[in-house]
């Protein structure tokens, strides 16, 4: 097993993102969460205070959705690069090496981006189908 262990200095140079990366995999779902909260809060306030502006609300939700999808897409792309599956061909990253850890976090972040993008799309659907505050 131990022959897989690179020297500490080497790993520090190449896969330095230690501290931020566990947070990074939650950025895409966090984007979903922010999108969700804004949609919900905006709908609650608009329907309570100015129900006639629901058209604007729906347009706003549409724009916000595009923004969120863009952001998730960008996060997903960065994660895809980090995963680097096309070079390595490794879908599992099962080893206790810095490189596998690095690519695994990329892989997990890619998958979470996909789920988050789906979540954002789903949450935008009500704005498409429902035209009034009733």
């Amino acid at each position: 097993m131990a022959e897989h262990q690179p020297a500490p200095d080497e790993e520090r140079r190449e896969f330095r993102e230690e501290r931020e990366s566990l947070w990074r995999i939650t950025l895409a779902p966090a984007t979903w969460a922010v999108h969700f909260v804004i949609c919900y809060a905006a709908a609650a306030v608009v329907c309570a205070k100015a129900p006639d502006s629901i058209g604007t609300l729906r347009l706003g939700i549409g724009a916000l959705t595009l923004l969120a999808l863009g952001l998730i897409g960008w996060l997903g792309w960065r994660a895809w690069v980090q995963w680097d599956v096309r070079t390595t061909g490794d879908y599992r990253n099962p080893l206790g090496e810095a490189e596998d850890r690095h690519q695994f976090l990329g892989h997990a972040a890619v998958l979470l981006s996909v789920i988050s993008a789906l979540g954002v799309l789903y949450v935008a659907l009500p704005a498409l189908f429902i035209r009034s505050c009733g």
């Binding site: 097993m1 131990a2 022959e3 897989h4 262990q5 500490p8 230690e18 501290r19 990366s21 566990l22 995999i25 939650t26 779902p29 966090a30 979903w32 969460a33 969700f36 949609c39 919900y40 709908a43 609650a44 306030v45 329907c47 309570a48 205070k49 629901i54 609300l57 879908y91 599992r92 990253n93 099962p94 080893l95 206790g96 090496e97 810095a98 596998d100 850890r101 695994f104 976090l105 892989h107 997990a108 998958l111 979470l112 789920i115 988050s116 789906l118 979540g119 789903y122 949450v123 935008a124 659907l125 009500p126 704005a127 189908f129 429902i130 009034s132 505050c133 009733g134």
Partner: protein
């Protein structure tokens, strides 16, 4: 700052093959084992309750939770008897209502969540090759709180004063309720919720900081991923309920009208806060149980899990999405369709990660050579039941369909399918799987199969017909129904099924408790599993792992054949205890490089006393006995301070410790390297969530109520609010200053700051009280909310003051020095959050009402 040279680990890491191959001399092994055995010996005889070791506390916790589950199950049987035939009178209406309220409350608060905590406390350290949880006394404190609170709440049934308003406690029904029932629920369970948060803190820190060296995040056992996610969920889900309880109890005790529509309040706020907790709660219960399946399935398939990253995605994704579902419990409350739509959408979206999880199990079974075993039978049965519950969940996630079946027996059927399939059966499967790990004996295969088939059949006989009962129009929570509705035969079938389930549990309990003295001990790894817990010692030793291994793969027992032998020989880390201390290894978050040899706490009575007095502080107010409650609270604080003072962050006798394999590790850390700092950080995240929930209340009323704040209402005195905020911010600045000055060796300046800071904090709290003193909180929800914010901030300021004085005392007593300053780091962290709280509260009390 915290990684100054004198505190960094020294020596080679990671270990080379040559280092690992070197033999440990027999006499050294023997000496080390004796040292460890002495350090980890559990207390004997009448001192047994002082044990804090995870193997003891976890077991007590699990058995207690299981006991409460059986009691709650008996309540269910009584209810099924009452409903067996139309117009039955086995139970009176009131008693039936007590029973269904307590059945739900106990199953959720006294069984499902505590059971997760119990199992995690019991086995997580073993998955991580560790000795114990990072804060054993905190586990013990949480356990004793749970016992006291649970007994109190369940005991109310004996006196016929149990809560009757449902486990969801909707006001105004629950606020108007006479008698102590609702107070028992609110205070008793708040107390337990705090214990839950304590366990969550413990488990998160355990999974992040107490992994064995080399166990990077990509090779953690999946169970640890789930624990991490669920711990995080508890942290964000329970605080809204605690905030709700806080407002609710203020209404019950002092008539502050948060939920009273005649004085500007709104019962909907409670529903939001309750379900922001309530829905993630379902996943908090489900995920750790499915995590057990994620450990059993690879063993059964005799191969690594297929789609490890996918399961991580599934756990993390579910954790997030589960916070966007709460309104699906409120689809019939008349919210705008578009709002319902968002929650309907999220309710469907959450199905995707859940499905991925199940298909990853299927994929593992496909790719592996399946060796069917009794635990797997339970898991397979669980999946069959859970998928049925999941599919009805997809149906009721569609808002318009829920308009029909909401609050009917269709929902009862759905939720029991989900909970039996997603929690009860996997957990029992886990008991069969892990029993040999815990007790070094096997449970009976024959009895296990009987129990399985009885419970599996019983669940389907009981709950499958309930779908139809609900569709035929039978609402939930009815103590009776008339004979013309066509529900009679369905209910009779359900009742029969309930007793079949009970028979299955009887078999299971017998299997669990029957004497097994004559049975042979198990082989060390009876299931041929690949994860670290099966490196355990047979016969039992209390040290957890003889030495803490260096890990390089997901299934170390499969991949590294010499591992167990080297662990046993003490070849790895912390193989000894030269000073008789209990210690565990603290490693870095992502890559688990060793950082610290952390001393952990041992047996004590103080956690029992602290829990007893905390219990008094929560239980006396139920009967409106406030002076004894305040006395208990004071004693609880004294106990906790004594516990912290005597057992945490003491300057060590030896700066560094030889940890094995040539590695020397520091024995003391402060700031982000210390587990205590992480615990404070995580606790305060939960605390901030609770505070945010109270602030959410302000904006909720503003949105939902046209007259909030009421026209011409008296506002809090802006000058006093500004002064209060300023004083609290200054107190924070002085605390931060004290930390920096102390570290720089300017001890006198630090002490001066620690004298001035509490004075300022007290002044700030006082000013805040003065700012709202002219408002009448019982008159309207607006002044009531201003008072509630004041109470929140003042109570926190009081805690902050105690912390500052604790550091001041530590500085004089030599516990806190420029070199050993963990306490001051932790207190400063608390004050970061308090400063933020004060600023937000100041803005909401002083500014927002004037602006909006």
């Amino acid at each position: 700052m915290s990684d100054r040279r004198d505190m960094a680990p020294e020596g080679p890491y990671p270990p080379t093959d040559a280092m690992l191959a070197e033999k440990v001399p027999q006499n050294v092994q023997k000496r080390q084992a004796e040292e460890l055995r002495a350090a980890w010996a559990p207390p004997k005889g009448w001192r047994y309750p002082t044990a804090v070791n995870n193997s003891e506390v976890g077991l007590w916790y699990a058995l207690t939770a299981f006991g409460f589950m059986l009691l709650a199950g008996v309540l269910a049987l009584a209810m099924r008897l009452q409903l067996a035939v139309p117009g039955n009178d086995v139970l009176s209406a009131d008693r039936f209502n007590q029973f269904f309220t307590m059945h739900g409350s106990a199953m959720m608060f006294l069984f499902a969540v505590p059971m997760f905590e119990a199992i995690a406390i019991l086995i997580l350290p073993a998955f991580l090759g560790g000795r114990d949880m990072p804060f054993p006394r905190l586990s013990a404190f949480g356990f004793w709180c749970f016992v006291i609170g649970g007994t109190f709440v369940m005991g109310s049934l004996l006196f016929n004063v149990a809560p009757t308003a449902g486990w969801f406690m909707y006001p105004p029904l629950a606020t108007q309720d006479e008698g102590p029932g609702s107070d028992i629920w609110l205070l008793g369970l708040s107390f337990i919720e705090i214990a839950s948060i304590a366990a969550a803190v413990e488990l998160i820190v355990g999974a992040l900081k107490c992994r064995p060296p080399g166990m990077r995040v990509n090779i953690m056992p999946l169970y640890a991923w789930y624990v991490l996610v669920v711990g995080g969920m508890i942290l964000f889900a329970f605080p809204p309920l605690i905030a709700g309880d806080f407002l609710f109890e203020l209404e019950r005790s002092f008539d502050w009208p948060f939920f009273d529509p005649t004085r500007g309040g709104d019962p909907m706020l409670w529903q939001h806060l309750f379900w922001i907790f309530g829905h993630p709660e379902v996943y908090i219960v489900f995920l750790p149980s499915i995590a057990i399946a994620a450990m059993v399935v690879p063993t059964v398939a005799q191969r690594p899990i297929v789609g490890y990253s996918w399961i991580v995605l599934s756990a993390v994704g579910t954790g997030f999405l589960s916070f966007g579902l709460w309104v699906h419990h409120m689809f019939t409350t008349g919210l705008p369709n578009i709002s319902l739509g968002f929650f309907s959408a999220a309710s469907e979206a959450v199905v995707i990660p859940t499905g991925i999880q199940l298909l990853a199990f299927a994929a593992t079974l496909i790719a592996g050579r399946v060796r069917m075993s009794l635990p797997m039978l339970w898991i397979a049965g669980a999946l069959a039941i859970f998928t049925a519950g999941g599919l009805t969940g997809v149906m009721i996630g569609i808002a318009p369909f829920d308009w029909q079946v909401h609050d009917t027996y269709f929902i009862v059927a759905h939720l029991h399918y989900v909970l039996f399939g997603g929690m009860v059966l996997p957990v029992i499967g886990g008991v069969y799987y892990f029993y040999p790990f815990i007790r070094k004996k096997m449970l009976s295969d024959r009895l296990g199969r009987w129990a399985f088939w009885l419970i599996f059949t019983g669940v389907n006989v009981t709950f499958l017909p309930m779908h139809l009962t609900g569709l035929l129009g039978m609402p939930r929570r009815v103590f009776t129904y008339s004979d013309g509705m066509g529900w009679g035969w369905l209910n009779l079938i359900s009742t029969v099924g309930a007793f079949v389930i009970a028979a299955g549990f009887a078999v299971f309990v017998w299997d669990l408790l029957r004497p097994k003295g004559s049975q042979p001990r198990i082989a060390r790894n009876p299931w041929d599993a690949g994860t670290l817990e099966w490196s355990h010692d047979v016969p039992e030793e209390y040290w957890g792992a003889r030495s803490i291994p260096h890990i390089t793969s997901r299934y170390p027992l499969w991949d590294d054949k010499g591992l167990v032998e080297r662990m046993d020989a003490g070849r790895y880390y912390l193989p000894d205890s030269p000073h008789g201390h209990r210690e565990t290894l603290v490693t870095s978050v992502i890559d688990a490089t060793p950082e610290l040899a952390q001393r952990v706490t041992g047996p004590t009575w103080i956690t029992l006393w602290a829990a007893a007095f905390t219990g008094g502080a929560f239980i006396f107010p139920t009967f409106h006995m406030y002076p004894p409650a305040i006395i208990c609270a004071a004693f609880a604080i004294v106990c906790i301070v004594y516990w912290l003072w005597t057992a945490t962050a003491r300057p060590p006798a030896h700066e560094m410790r030889d940890a094995g394999l040539g590695l020397r590790l520091p024995t003391y850390a402060s700031g982000p390297k210390a587990v205590g700092w992480w615990a404070v950080w995580i606790t305060m995240l939960g605390d901030a969530t609770a505070f945010a929930s109270v602030v959410f209340g302000f904006f909720f009323y503003w949105t939902a109520k046209a007259d909030f704040p009421p026209e011409g209402a008296q506002h809090a005195a802006a000058g006093w609010v500004a002064l209060a905020t300023l004083a609290l911010v200054l107190s924070w600045a002085l605390t931060l200053g004290a930390r920096e000055w102390n570290r720089a060796g300017r001890v006198a300046a630090a002490r001066a700051a620690l004298v001035a800071a509490p004075v300022l904090a007290a002044g700030g709290a006082g000013a805040l009280i003065l700012s709202v003193l002219d408002l009448t909180p019982s008159a309207h929800v607006y002044p009531a909310l201003m008072w509630a914010l004041m109470v929140w901030v003042s109570a926190h300021a009081l805690v902050g003051i105690i912390m500052q004085l604790y550091c001041l005392a530590g500085s004089f007593a030599g516990k806190l020095t420029p070199r050993y300053d963990a306490d001051l780091w932790n207190v400063t962290l608390f004050w970061h959050f308090l400063c933020l709280t004060a600023l937000v509260a100041g803005a909401v009390i002083g500014l927002a009402p004037r602006v909006l």
